[in-house]
Amino acid sequence: MDLHIEGLNHRYGDMPVLDGIDLRIESGRIVCLIGPSGCGKSTLLRLIGGLEQPTDGVIGQIGEPPDGCLNPLTYIFQDFALLPWRTARGNISLVLEDHDLSERETGRIVDDVLARTDLSDFGNAFPRQLSGGMKQRVAIARALAVNPAVLLMDEPLSALDGQTRALLMDDLIGLWTREPFTAVYVTHNLQEAVRLGHKIVVLSRRPGRIRDQVTIDMPLENRPDAVSELADIQSHLWELLREEAQAADRELADA
């Protein structure tokens, strides 16, 4: 299933947030959205997943979601959004309970996604007992449980410390290489973008417009060995972003 965004405008009251966004998200690829803070990249993600309605423009699904897909557009949130009163298993089964699944089927899915995220021993732990990295793994497992067509990730690693971030990045790449998924990945971290993105979309400061789209054809699994090439792309992206980020920073200070 592809997603197609055309002529998207969005405003909060009088303030334009997004302006004329055209974007195609292709199946099996990861699109990274980067941009200065307040450029509307998280808003764009909420619009794509139907949590907000655009002022103008269309967001269309092209093609059918895969078989057994319970929730085509599935988020992974920055703050994990786990229910503190449910165990890891309970948090995952939460999103399955509204579907007509037998108890055995639910149990099978939960066991499967726990195993895929290396959480099999932590099924009965409550969120407060888990570290930040483990919490985000539970959230990733929950997202995988509904077999999504597109994963919408809103700075999923930003709440974690540097070491945990590196570990989870490896996990995400491992998950993708074993079974390629489609994703929109919002981040302000350029390193994450060049490590994970097949296409990197650079947004300008508010109102967000697409400044540039950079395609990286290198397979994800080869990227750790291509440090210098990635560094070049990263500095190119930084050139694009630098002025915008500076201006956005000043804008905030004035307000």
């Binding site: 929730n71 599935t74 988020y75 503190p84």
Partner: protein, 268 residues
């Protein structure tokens, strides 16, 4: 030869600690025993006149007499059943109204001003009216407790619903959970801590109103027993009745503590 102390120079002065009171085991019961002991001593020695304050032993004898005759069970049964019926009805209605206010704009704008206007009225002032409406029997007593516990419960509940983490609700929506699932599995557990702490307030209001309501037109009940003792200047029975109220209050707060520990065991 200089010793180690002078070699290490001036020791850094400790200035942390404190501000962390901890329970000291047997101190609580000890204070009870000392106060009651002094009181008994004062009464025995004639320093406290029996008419002003009976000796603890006399109050204890009055209590023992209640047990002997079995009267205590009649009083307790009448009081506890009024408390349970009135309080649970007030809680149920209050939680329902609180959820309506927390979830629906129409209920919020329509009911919040009404709640704000009725909450500060001491419900005991309405007791004569309730007697006219619901009769001098159980109806007016239960209605007093119901209305007294209703408003604090409404306020605690909708405050709790308002404070449920919106990112969790958005998560539920993003996974396509039904409205009813979101209310049941996300909003209700999220509001539960606030509802349970509201329970403590409404429970103590319920006990106060119970005693007041039982002072009018009740044959049995702790309030009736205390009032009769007062009218007869039987201060020993009065103290016995007050002690029963204290035990009743402690029992209720212990039960709420148990409920909190069970329902909120997911918290640290």
């Amino acid at each position: 030869m200089p010793d180690a102390r002078t070699l290490a120079g001036q020791p850094v002065m400790f200035r942390g600690g404190g501000f962390a009171p901890r329970p000291v085991g047997p101190l609580g019961p000890a204070v009870f025993i000392v106060v009651i002991g002094l009181w008994e001593l004062g009464s025995q020695s004639g320093w406290i006149a029996p008419l002003i304050l009976p000796a603890p032993s006399e109050a204890f004898a009055a209590l023992a007499y209640l047990f002997e005759t079995g009267e205590i069970w009649r009083h307790l049964e009448a009081s506890v059943s009024r408390l349970v019926v009135g309080w649970s009805a007030g809680m149920a209605l209050g939680v329902a109204i609180g959820f309506a206010i927390g979830l629906f704009s129409i209920a919020r704008s329509g009911l919040v001003p009404v709640v704000a206007a009725l909450f500060p009225i001491p419900k005991i002032a309405l007791l004569p009216l309730f007697i006219v409406w619901f009769g001098i029997g159980e109806g007016s007593k239960i209605a007093t407790i119901l209305f007294g516990t209703l408003f604090p419960t409404v306020i605690a509940t909708y405050g709790g619903v308002d404070n449920v983490d919106r990112s969790l609700i958005r998560m539920g929506q993003s996974f396509g959970l039904s409205w009813w699932s979101i209310v049941r599995k996300i909003v209700l557990p999220g509001a539960l801590p606030a509802i349970l702490s509201g329970t403590r307030i409404s429970a103590s209001i319920a006990i106060i109103l119970l005693v007041a309501a039982e002072m009018i037109g009740a044959e049995y009940g702790i309030g009736a027993y205390v009032l009769l003792a007062g009218n007869l200047a039987a201060t020993d029975q009065l103290i016995a009745g007050v002690a029963m109220l204290s035990v009743l209050g402690l029992t209720v707060s212990w039960l709420i503590g148990r409920a909190e520990r069970y329902f909120l065991r997911w918290r640290s």
